[in-house]
C-alpha cells in the first residue's frame, strides 16, 4: 500500500521508507504539515499517513487540527515522533490520530502498528 511519511528529517524518511519497502509498501515524502496536506490532496490512493510532531511551517498537531476541521485525509493517521509524554499522546489521539509510535522504534513495531491500524 501507499504510505505518506510527513517528517522534516530526510534521514528519518529514508529509514522509514526502507522499513516500509521491506514490508512491501511504498512510501512518499512530505517535509512538513503544509506539504503533507498537498500530498494528501494529490494522492487519493493513500492508505496510511505517518506524521511527525515537530516540523517547521505546519507541525503535526496543526495538521491533525486542520484535518479535524476539513477532513481532507481519509487514510488513518499514526503519529511518529520523539514526543513521548502521555499528555502528548493523549492530545494527538484526541485530535484524530488513530495510534502513536514513539521514536526510537524498530521495524517490528512499525509492522505491528500497521497490522493493527490497517486490519
Amino acid at each position: 500500500m501507499k504510505v505518506l511519511v510527513i517528517d522534516d528529517s530526510k534521514p528519518i524518511f529514508m529509514m522509514v521508507s526502507q522499513m516500509l519497502k521491506e514490508l512491501g509498501h511504498e512510501a512518499i515524502w512530505a517535509e512538513n504539515g503544509q506539504d503533507g496536506f498537498e500530498k494528501v490532496t494529490a494522492n487519493s490512493d493513500l492508505e496510511l499517513v505517518l506524521l511527525d510532531w515537530n516540523m517547521p511551517v505546519m507541525d503535526g498537531l496543526e495538521f491533525l487540527k486542520k484535518n479535524g476541521a476539513e477532513s481532507f485525509c481519509k487514510a488513518p493517521i499514526v503519529m511518529m515522533t520523539t514526543e513521548n509524554k502521555p499528555e502528548k499522546i493523549q492530545e494527538a489521539l484526541k485530535n484524530g490520530a488513530i495510534d502513536y509510535i514513539m521514536k526510537p522504534f524498530t521495524a517490528d513495531i512499525l509492522e505491528n502498528k500497521i497490522e493493527m491500524v490497517c486490519d
Binding site: M79, N84, I89, L93, Y100, M102, I109, N112, K113, M116
Partner: protein, 272 residues
Amino acid sequence: MTNPEVYKFFSDYVYQHTGILYKEQDYYRLDSRFNTLVKKFEVKDASELFNLYVQKITPEMHTILIDLCTNNETYFMRDLKPFKAFAKEGMDYLKETFPNSISYNIWSAACSTGQEPLSLLMALDSFGDKLNLNKYKIEASDISTNALDKAKKGLYTGLEVQRGLPANLLIQYFSQVEDNWQVNKDLHNKISFKKLNLLTESFPLNEYHIIFCRNVLIYQDMENKKKILSKISDAIKPGGLLFMGAGESLIGVDIPMKQLELGKAFCYVKDS
C-alpha cells in the same frame, strides 16, 4: 571447540528439568548461553563450566541455567484476535456455559514477562462488556525466575510497550517513569504470579474456566507435549476453554477437547 560431551550434558540437564529440547543440530544455540555462564561464574571456558556443573549443581546454578535456556519472547496482545475473541465471544460463552459462576478463573500458563496476563485484563476492560474486573481471578506462571521478576515489577521499556499495545491502551493503563512505563497497580494487583514448571508439577483439577497456554509447547517434544496437555485438560472445567498459540494445535494429542471457532479466533473446548 567445545566438546560434544559438554553440549550433551547441558542439553540433557535442561531437557530433563524443563522439557526444552536442544537437538544436536541446535547445539550451537547453547554457545551464547555458555558465554554468559562463563562470565557469570568467572571460569575460563565451557569445559571449565562443565567441570563446575558436573561436581554439584546448587539451586542458584540451576536457576541461572534454566533462565538462560528459556526463550521469553512475548509481546502485548500477541496476535490480537485471540485476545479480542477471549474478551467478547469468550465471555459471552462463559456466561452461557457457567450461568452460576460468580467469578471466572483464568490461567496464563507460560506468562513470561507478564504481557499475556496484562493483555487479558486490558482486553476484558477495553474490548469486552466492561464488566467488573473483580469477576476475574487471573493466575500467571512461568518457569523462568528472571521473566517472573520482571512480570512482578510490571515495568516495561518504550520499545516493549509499543509491541502490540495501541497507544490509547498505553496511556490508559500505564504511567511513565523516566523512559519506562509502569503498569497501573489496580490492573497489576489483579494478577497472582507464581513460579511453576508445566512439565514436572501438577495442576489443580477442574479449576479453570479458561487457560492460555501459548507459544510454550513448541519447545517440547511430542511425548512431553502430550503429558502437559493432558494435565492442562484435567485442569480445565468441563466446558472451559483452552487458547493456544497461532499455528499450535491439538493434532495428534488425544485429550477430550474439541476445536471451537470463537469470533475471529480458534480455541478448544473441554467436553462436558
